[in-house]
Amino acid sequence: MSELASRFRIRRDAETSSSRLPPLLVAAQRVAATVEQGVHGRRRVGLGETFWQFRQYEPGDSLRSIDWRQSAKTDHIYIRETEWAAVQSVWLWRDASASMRWRSGKKIPAKRDRADLMALALASLLTRGGEQIGMLGLDERASSGSVALDRMAFSLLGNGPEQQSPNLPRFESLPRHCHLVLFGDFLTPLEEIDHRLRQFASNQISGYIVQVLDPAETSLPFDGRTRFEGLEDEGRILIKRVENVREEYVARMARQRAGLQEIARSIGWSLVSHMTDQPPEQALLALFVRIAAEV
């Protein structure tokens, strides 16, 4: 009862603290529904419910894990062992750094907003399929159901200090064989990305990278005398004529993306690219199909 009350309180807090939550969740659900229709011939993801076996109580077992009904039937005390669900859990992470809070025009969403939406939509799809989800760096363990979705939406909007948010996920030991989905712009130097991802990959985690980029970041649509300023204290640079460097910049950006692709390929992860001026469904469908094929 009290848990229910607290759940309601959390939901209410979530609604009052951030009025963006319901719209985001609704938007994510809508995206998810669109994508789900696109997944043909696959009705559910085959993860059984969690009962595994009963075994006799041994000293040291938690009292909580005693199955009282089974124990009452016989003289022994039984422990209810569940299937180890962590193996099938999907962990999500999205880049919350300042550089993600950027957009090149008013009609285009910020990269972070798009990343949040896609992450939540993916989570929604996964929970419909009964999978467990968790936020990397925030959740202790993965959980399932609409509660998990609510919690995730809430933590996505959580207002942690963004400046300190890392550009890449910190390494954490995750359950083996779980899935990791990373949303971000991945504009950090390739060596750093390579180093960090290999840490995860060495733990036998299969991963998916979703690179969310603003169209302006690929085309550099500025001209004239312009002073550029980074969003994360990288410094400033004055370009006297942006037109003159555009070509070279585009080439660099292409190299960065190719490098990321190469890293993903080498550790066996897959990469999905997404531009914020595109609708999110397309990228999400591609992503979800790949995840579902492996789970």
Binding site: T188, R225, R227, F228, L231, E234, I237, K240, R241, Y249
Partner: protein
């Protein structure tokens, strides 16, 4: 001061900064514009990018131009440019201003005031002492002399007190005192504000001017020179008048205004000068009735004595005596001789009735003697003497004369009369024959319907034909006349009533009498003897009739025609009401001659020149505006503002800059914008009276000036200090701010709309007061007021009772005169009104506003006869009482205080 044509710089050394402008141009050109600032996440990829070429972006040329323009504006602004600058004076000595203030200065006195004011401005800027000098005496006893050395501010006060005088300048005396001055000062800067006319001693004056120092003469443009109205002459039955201007050259139109004694305009006439005309004769063809009321002719919009001509009785009115015994009794009116004579004469003559003795006490030109009981010997002798002295005696036949002829007839009469068409006669009544060419009636057409039934007959004689003015168709004389001494006797051989003929009923009778009266010599000078003509009213310098000051000398009757206009005898009216004579300037000044040639030592300048304009605030304001624009453009170029924000900011900046600009420019241009709210604040900050706009600009002006005049008197005598009056339109304007609404009633006003009426109703209900003043001469007989307030619910009215509060609200008054007097004032009956018995409406028809009206210099605009200045004073008292009544209501009639007041009076 650096002068370039009409432009001058008060601080020209600032212009040296212009040298720096090309440098600034170069600097701005090489300095690239500030870069756009863009936040960019993928900045890491931009680091260490090699630029292929390094051509820095340039500031666009138009921005460059804008900035250079700002700098130029600031430099020129700080250099303090002046448009049409006042020149300083060249000599070291004081500024000597010689002002022509004779009659000829009045038309352009305003331009003289402006010129002197500008001269004094310059003098005070240069800290120069000033000497003032007028060329006409202020009064007979005051000699012309130069003032002391004064500071410009003191000189201004002295000049303010100066007015044009109605007599000519005295250049001889001026020159003498200038010579005196030249002994002390010879390095002065002399400015002579000339009237532009050549006088007798102008040469002398100009010589003396140059002795004092460097001389300049301000001379009016040819079109602004004064004009002169020459004395009126009789041209037939009409008056002729000549208008002269000083200089030919351009065609110009003047409008003559003909006014009656009360200053009411009774006719207008336009005089058009062709380019070559200098003097134009104009016949003032007025109807006889109006002509006799003509008292003054003046040139409209042209002040001064030269443009004002006073007419006296000699030209104007022919007093006609009709001998009568006693007042007429009603039953016999239509049969009485007197009735027909009076009716025929009154349109064009002043008719006096009475016994012969009484009539002869005052000067008369014509006496009508109807068929009367035989004259006594004494009366006959007096009449004979009067006729010999120049009188015109007009007699009518009748039963009395037929029975008993006397010697006061032009021809010898047969005793008895003859009659036609009676039962016992064979002849038909006879009509009039055509008039002879040498008869005074020549030109009149004899109507065929006139018939004479009876007449007296003459003894035939040699001279009968010569003496006959009119005949019947059979040749018998109907009107005969004969000279007696200087005078004449005229006899109508029939009665003045319809007993003997229907002549008196015909229009020809009126014309015949009119012609006859015109033969009268006017008021005989030998009439009532008056040796000295005392001044009655004189013209002031602006051509307004005012009370004669005590220093005006009387003129001997015999010398009157030789009298010269001089300070002791200003132009005006002299004599008592019986024999009033007018002295006009044109009897002294015969000719206008322009001052064309100036000696080489005197610089000629014009009065009217462009005013000095300070351009500094305008330039600096423009620089500020461009600077704000530049700021906005810079922000836009650096990407600090989006397009839409920029548009919004522009509007905001413009709004913010506007009051600043207005503040900056307020020294230069008055703020035109009148906001309704401000109006309301102004109307309620002080007591303000309003007048209703009639749509007639002349009437509105009188209302406005009238309320201003009343306001001045109120402020000086009472604690009410009203603000400037407001004009309201009852249909649209808010009335609630005004305690008193003055509503002149004139012809052709449109009544208020339905909405206007309900506004008025509310205004009255809430304690407002309306004063209706019927300005029309018909007074209460006119329907104008009735039409005006047809839609308004009016209370019942009564004539102001003698104990009404209005008679004692401030002054004790018995009557309520304005420009006219005698008409009653109506107020609402006390039982009728809701507001504590205070009448919300006062109706008068004495034309109060005209009596109150003052012109811009505080002088009354209209005369207020018959009472003169005393009547005006009473009119002001009426105004004060009305205002007090409007403001305090029934306070004065409050019975509660009466015992206390009586007790206090008793102490």
């Amino acid at each position: 001061m650096l002068t370039l044509g009409a432009l001058a710089f008060a601080a020209p050394w600032i212009l040296l900064a212009l040298v720096g402008v090309p440098v600034l141009w170069w600097l701005l050109r090489v300095t690239p514009p500030s870069p756009k600032l863009v936040q960019f996440p993928a900045i890491r990829l931009l680091f260490r990018l090699q630029e292929k070429e390094d051509t820095p972006a340039r500031t666009p040329w138009w921005l460059l131009l804008l900035r250079v323009l700002i700098v130029l504006l600031i430099i020129f602004g700080v250099a303090h440019p002046l448009m049409n600058p006042e020149e300083g004076f060249k000599e070291k000595g004081p500024l000597v201003i010689v002002i022509d203030n004779g009659w000829s200065a009045a038309p352009n006195w305003q331009t003289r005031q402006n010129s002197v004011s500008e001269l004094l401005d310059t003098a005070s800027r240069e800290d120069r002492k000033v000497i003032l000098m007028a060329t006409a005496r202020r009064a007979p006893a005051q000699q012309i002399s130069a003032s002391k050395l004064m500071r410009a501010a003191d000189a201004r006060a002295v000049f303010q007190a100066m007015t044009p005088q109605p007599w000519p300048e005295n250049y001889k005396e001026t020159a003498r005192s200038l010579d005196e001055l030249a002994k002390r000062t010879s390095d002065g800067n002399v400015v002579w504000l000339s009237d532009g006319l050549l006088h007798q001693d102008t040469e002398t004056l100009m010589a003396s001017l140059q002795k004092v120092g460097r001389a300049m003469a301000l001379i009016d443009a040819a079109g602004d020179l004064p004009v002169l109205l020459h004395p009126a002459r009789l041209a037939g039955t009409h008056l002729a008048i000549a208008l002269e201007r000083a200089k030919v050259g351009r065609p110009k139109q003047y409008e003559l205004q003909m006014m009656d004694e009360n200053g009411r305009v009774i006719g207008r006439r336009t005089v058009s000068f062709k380019a070559s005309d200098r003097k134009i004769d104009t016949v003032l063809s007025l109807p006889a009735e109006l002509r006799n009321r003509l008292a003054q002719v003046s040139v409209d919009r042209h002040q001064g004595v030269g443009a004002t001509l006073l007419l006296d009785e000699r030209l104007r009115r022919r007093p006609v005596g009709v001998v009568s015994a006693a007042a007429l009794t009603g039953s016999h009116r239509l049969l009485s001789d007197l009735f027909y004579i009076e009716r025929a004469l009154s349109p064009f003559s002043e008719v006096r009735k009475g016994p012969i003795d009484q009539l002869l006490q005052r000067p008369l030109s014509v006496i009508f003697l109807p068929d009367w009981a035989p004259l006594t010997r004494q009366e006959r002798e007096r009449l004979a003497r009067w006729v010999k002295g120049g009188g015109l005696l007009v007699r009518f036949a009748g039963p009395a004369l037929a029975r008993n002829s006397d010697d006061l007839v032009p021809v010898r009469l047969r005793s008895g009369d003859r009659s036609f068409g009676g039962a016992m006669t064979w002849a038909q009544p006879l009509g009039l024959a055509d008039f002879d060419a040498d008869s005074p009636f020549a030109g009149l057409s004899a109507p065929s319907d006139v018939s004479v039934r009876r007449q007296v007959l003459t003894e035939p004689g040699i001279e009968l034909a010569r003496k006959t003015w009119a005949r019947l168709r059979d040749g018998t004389p109907l009107v005969t006349a004969d000279k007696r001494g200087k005078g004449m006797i005229v006899l109508f051989h029939t009665t003045a009533n319809p007993d003997w003929s229907n002549l008196p009923l015909s229009g020809i009778f009126v014309e015949m009498l009119q012609r006859t009266v015109a033969l009268g010599r006017g008021v005989a000078e030998g009439g009532a003897r008056q040796t000295m003509l005392l001044p009655y009213r004189i013209l002031d310098g602006f051509g307004k009739l005012v009370e004669a000051p005590e220093w005006v000398r009387p003129i001997e009757t015999v010398n009157f025609s030789k009298t010269v206009v001089r300070p002791a005898n200003p132009p005006g009216l002299y004599g008592d009401s019986a024999s009033r004579r007018s002295l006009n300037l044109s009897s002294t000044v015969r000719k206008l001659e322009p001052l064309d040639a100036l000696p080489t030592g005197i610089t000629r300048l014009g009065y009217k020149k462009a005013k000095e304009i300070d351009l500094r605030p305008w330039l600096l304001m423009a620089a500020l505006a461009l600077f704000l624009l530049d700021l906005l453009i810079s922000f836009l170029m650096r990407g600090l503002l989006s397009q839409r924000t920029a548009a919004r900011t522009t509007v905001l900046v413009a709004l913010l800059a506007l009051p600043g600009a207005v503040l900056l420019a307020s020294g230069v241009a008055p703020v035109q914008a009148q906001i309704l709210e401000e109006d309301a604040i102004r109307a309620t900050r002080e007591t303000v009276f309003a007048y209703v706009k009639t749509g007639n600009s002349g009437a509105d002006r009188v209302s406005r000036r009238g309320l201003i005049g009343l306001g001045i008197v109120l402020a000086s005598r009472t604690s009410v200090e009203p603000g400037p009056p407001r004009a309201v339109d009852v249909n649209t304007d808010e009335l609630a701010f005004y305690p008193l609404l003055y509503w002149p009633v004139i012809d052709g006003q449109t009544p208020p709309t339905k909405q206007g009426n309900s506004r008025l109703q509310a205004f009255l209900r809430n304690g407002g007061m309306i004063v209706f003043d019927i300005r029309l001469p018909e007074g209460f007989r006119s329907n104008a007021l009735k039409n005006l307030v047809a839609g308004l619910k009016m209370p019942a009215f009564q004539e102001t009772p003698s104990n009404h509060v209005l008679t004692r609200a401030y002054y004790l008054l018995q009557r309520f005169p304005g420009r006219r007097t005698g008409e009653p004032v109506w107020v609402a009956r006390q039982d009728q009104t809701a507001n504590d018995g205070v009448s919300p409406i006062i109706i008068g028809s004495n034309d109060w506003a005209s009596a109150w009206a003052v012109d811009l210099s505080g002088r009354p605009m209209f005369p207020a006869p018959p009472g003169g200045e005393y009547q005006r004073e009473l009119a002001y008292r009426v105004g004060i009482n009305i205002v007090m009544y409007a403001l305090t209501g029934n306070y004065k009639s409050d019975q509660v205080h009466i015992p206390t007041i009586i007790r206090r009076l008793g102490q």
